[in-house]
């Protein structure tokens, strides 16, 4: 076996090191390992490849995937990625950095996290935000745990049936093992008013899985009267134009940052966000960056309020989260910096006009029925009057991923700014041809 590009030690280097240590071979460094645990077989792995072989291998795998025009959302949105972002996020100073515990040589990371926290506060209208969560669904699950931790001796959470299925499922998983009682409800207002005995929290989608922009007027008051907290699950991109969690009176906002310019990438890495009111600040899970000064008075940033975290509090921590999705938070921060208030409004206007154009055109084909007479932004569902499988196949054949079926049998569509009228018209033509 020859040398390997990631291992810089020459045979002579190894000899020098062994001599300093005072052992005869590297195997001697494992003398404390019971002999039968030293693996003596051949690892069942492919033979080492050259870099070009690795590249060829993955290019051939990538070629086995079908690149589709994506008209499905359901938690992953095909927004345009400005070319600036990957150039910034692939800078090795950001990409290859460790968690910023050594703040003196991590001001770059700390400062973008501070900017991210600030932008999340501005999108949601809430007071403070953390450095990030794994994704939207896990952020929702952590918010549910936070409700229960904040409400003493209350253990039930009301979860809207109109959240995305993967959000509900993740909440249920976390809740099951934490012993939290989850009630999934399609009539949140009624169920809160009726009074679930030990209600700790209520979680509802700002825009639901049918694409409907929900009206939560009066919900927060009702929830607070019951002594519980209100959590809003949001699409942060849409928050530029729809009512904010703060405007609804919510206590906690969570969601997935993917819609802020992160590539679809088969589901990850994305980034969860979490924001809350000041009163809940010390209940937040995960890392938080704060502003302070150094000895000479220079403004600087540090990881703060660490007494909540696992490395200090161990089993008493607010969460077990350690590594999060820092680089993806940078991705979103650069995105929001580029877009600004005007870009975010324009983007939403484009999605809105495209989605409504497609919605109306699809209804006009006579192959669908309207399900909800309600406002939507970029995503909507229709009830199909034609065979769904045939429809999906015809769309796929033309290179379109659209009309994903919900558990109720509706089909979902989502239009982003990436898709011009020709594509929308093409979908309509395909629909017309399905018999």
């Amino acid at each position: 076996m020859g040398a390997f590009s990631y291992f810089p030690q020459t045979g002579e280097d190894i000899r020098v090191m062994l001599e300093r240590i005072g052992v005869g071979s590297m195997d001697d460094l494992y003398a404390d390992v019971p002999a039968d645990f030293i693996y003596k077989g051949e690892y069942d792995l492919p033979s080492a490849m050259s870099e070009q072989q690795v590249r060829d291998f993955f290019e051939s795998l990538a070629a086995k995937n079908t690149r589709l025009k994506v008209f499905v959302g359901q938690g992953a949105y095909d927004h345009y990625v400005p070319s600036v972002i990957p150039y910034i996020t692939s800078r090795s100073e950001f990409l290859t950095a460790y968690t910023p515990y050594q703040c003196e040589i991590s001001q770059g990371t700390l400062r973008y996290i501070f900017e991210w926290q600030s932008m999340i506060c501005r999108l949601t209208g809430l007071d403070c935000a953390n450095a990030s969560m794994y994704d939207g669904p896990t952020a929702a699950a952590e918010a549910v745990r936070m409700c229960v931790a904040s409400a003493k001796r209350r253990n039930s959470v009301l979860v809207s049936a109109r959240l995305l299925p993967n959000v509900i499922d993740t909440i249920k998983t976390y809740a099951k093992y934490a012993g939290i009682n989850v009630v999934v409800s399609d009539q949140i207002f009624e169920d809160v008013a009726e009074g679930v005995l030990d209600l700790a929290g209520v979680i509802v989608p700002s825009i639901n899985r049918f694409g409907v922009i929900e009206n939560h007027l009066g919900l927060a008051d009702l929830v607070h009267q019951m002594g519980a907290l209100l959590v809003e699950y949001c699409d942060p991109s849409a928050l530029a134009v729809v009512k904010t969690p703060a405007e609804w009176g919510a206590d906690i906002a969570v969601g997935d940052g993917q819609s802020l310019g992160i590539p679809l990438c088969f589901g990850g890495p994305y980034v969860g966000f979490m924001a809350c009111r000041t009163a809940l600040m010390r209940k937040l899970p995960g890392r938080i960056v704060g502003q302070t000064t150094d000895a000479s008075g220079k403004r600087c940033y540090v990881l703060t309020l660490q007494a909540r975290e696992q490395h200090i509090r161990r089993e008493k921590a607010t969460s077990n989260i350690c590594s999060n999705e820092s680089l993806m938070a940078l991705w979103c921060t650069v995105y929001l910096s580029l877009m600004g208030p005007e870009g975010m409004r324009r983007l939403n206007a484009l999605c809105y006009e495209g989605a409504h154009y497609l919605h109306d055109a699809l209804l006009a084909t006579g192959k669908f029925q309207r399900v909800f007479d309600a406002d939507f932004l970029k995503e909507f569902v229709l009830k199909p009057l034609c065979p769904v499988e045939k429809l999906q196949k015809a769309l796929l054949k033309a290179g379109y991923f659209a009309a994903l079926q919900t558990e109720e049998g509706y089909v979902t569509f989502c239009v982003t700014e990436k898709h011009p009228r020709e594509e929308l018209d093409c979908i309509v033509e395909i629909v017309k041809s399905v018999k």
Binding site: V84, V241, K316, M339, G343, H419
Partner: protein, 493 residues
């Protein structure tokens, strides 16, 4: 590194833009749809007849939608900056950061090895980045092959049967693994097993994950020699024990040589063994956790498998199981889609580069480097446990007490262009300095680090005051952490 003092908000000037969007998606410049009478569908909360004072057109043109039913009322106060502003700002920020590409991280328990560049290119192939997670299987065959290939490779490397790739980080993997542990006991009607044993030297995530999973924690003490006290363990085992979480080698870098007996004891009492893969690196290509009797484990792909740490993620924490636990592997949904696919791709590329030939040296070279540093510095730094270590080891401060603390040493290292080691962990020693070099550091780098550590030991004798004030040559000095925590400023205003 140069200090740069701006926040993106401070570069903002009304009217500047950094985006480029079409005017309309509709070629004939159709107007936005007219205001529609808004009804609520089946969503409760307002009355269906409530007048809609503001239409989407107003909202999208930035009008305040005061009194609107569903549209945002508050102005969205994001920075207004040009594309150049954004690029310069973040480039300047990056230059206040240290990364693996900048220099050496002797960072215990964190395995900061070199992040190969080919991995990045693979993960950014459009054939992967453009895939929607809900696309039909027949359109994502290549992506599915990545999972199958990784499952097979990780099983071969660890001796486990199969892996789930949903967990997004190490702690997430721990939580998932403990859920599987609970499912296993539940399926046998063994509902009294609500406690998990964790050594006092364990990573903080172990007890925290157990707590999040609804398990009570029982701490088993370490002996003087840093290893789990097997006699103490025997006293803790019983019908209420779900299992034990171990990292092997442990956080002192010591191989738990009694692992065979520990596994036997825990299994005999009906419990399972969980392997915390944070310290897998020295065993890479040498020892397989599955062979040691572990039933469940996670791997940190952002440690052992070379994917970049990203300043704190994204990572990936796939969880592997033995035959016993296999039926429960796919039970819990712990994240949104298929885990961090982009990270899994990078790790797969790394494994294919290593191949079955080079993998056999990875762990050994990591162990060689750690022992070399240990032997080269033990005459200046206190070495509480002098035996052979694996990938990392722990000093307990300077040998000679001049009032110079571990924090002082760590901060002084920054002046010399090295990242600091992990400090004040594990909690077994008051002045812990935990050093892990990884196999990707050359003898010259290790020698340079050793020389600087020796020099700092000299400085501690000659000028302890100077060390208390370190670092002196970084963009900022030591921060006022007390004020940061007492009067938190967590956002720009």
């Amino acid at each position: 590194m140069k200090y740069y003092d701006k926040l993106i908000f401070e570069l903002s000037k009304p009217g500047r833009i950094g985006f480029s969007l079409p005017e309309t998606l509709l070629a004939d410049k159709q107007q936005l749809p007219p205001k529609k009478p808004a009804t609520l569908g089946t969503v409760r909360g307002g009355t269906a007849s409530e007048a809609q004072r503001w239409g989407p057109k107003d909202v999208f043109q930035g009008q305040a939608a005061a009194g609107s039913r569903i549209w945002r009322e508050a102005p969205l106060d994001l920075p207004e900056v040009s594309e150049v502003d954004v690029v310069r700002h973040y480039t300047n920020l990056s230059q206040m950061n240290f990364g693996v590409d900048t220099g050496f991280y002797p960072l215990g328990s964190c395995t900061m090895k070199y992040n190969p560049k080919i991995n990045e290119e693979i993960a950014n192939l459009p054939g992967f980045t453009g895939l929607h997670p809900l696309q039909p299987n027949e359109t994502v065959k290549g992506a599915l092959e990545v999972y199958v290939g990784m499952d097979k490779a990780l099983a071969a490397i660890t001796g486990m049967k199969h892996f789930t790739f949903l967990p997004c980080a190490g702690a997430h993997g721990e939580l998932t693994g403990l859920m599987l542990m609970r499912e296993y006991h539940q399926s046998r009607g063994d509902t009294a097993r609500t406690k998990v044993i964790v050594p006092d030297s364990a990573h903080g995530t172990n007890p925290a994950s157990a707590a999040v999973c609804g398990l009570d924690i029982v701490v088993v003490k370490s002996k003087e020699n840093g290893l789990v006290d097997v006699d103490a363990l025997k006293g803790l085992l019983g019908p209420d024990i779900a299992g034990i979480m171990l990292t092997n080698p442990n956080t002192l870098g010591l191989f738990e040589r009694d692992i065979k007996e520990i596994a036997q004891l825990v299994h005999d009492c009906g419990g399972l063994l969980y392997y915390d893969g944070a310290n897998m690196n020295p065993l890479l290509g040498v020892v397989r956790p599955g062979d040691m009797g572990f039933d469940i484990m996670h791997l940190n792909l952002h440690k052992t498998f070379s994917t970049p740490h990203g300043g704190g993620g994204p990572g990936a924490g796939p969880v592997g199981v033995s035959d016993k636990v296999l039926p429960f592997l796919h039970i819990p949904r712990v994240s949104g889609f298929h885990g961090n696919f982009g990270i899994i791709l990078r790790a797969y590329a790394y494994i294919l580069m290593l191949g079955r030939e080079h993998i056999k040296l990875a762990g050994k070279l990591a162990t060689l480097g750690a022992n070399y540093i240990k032997e080269s510095l033990k005459d200046c730094y206190k070495l509480p446990i002098p035996t052979v270590c694996k990938h990392e080891f722990v000093f307990d401060g300077l040998l000679e007490d001049n009032g110079v603390t571990t924090l002082d040493v760590a901060k002084r290292l920054l002046d010399y262009g090295f990242h600091a080691p992990t400090i004040y962990f594990p909690l077994l020693f008051h002045q812990a300095i935990m050093i892990e070099p990884t196999e990707t550091e050359s003898l010259e780098t290790l020698d340079a680090f050793i020389a600087v550590m020796r020099r700092i030991a000299e400085e501690a004798k000659a000028d302890p005051e100077m060390l208390h004030g370190a670092p002196h040559d970084t963009p900022i000095g030591r921060p006022d952490e007390t004020t940061a925590a007492r009067q938190p400023v967590l956002k720009y205003e």
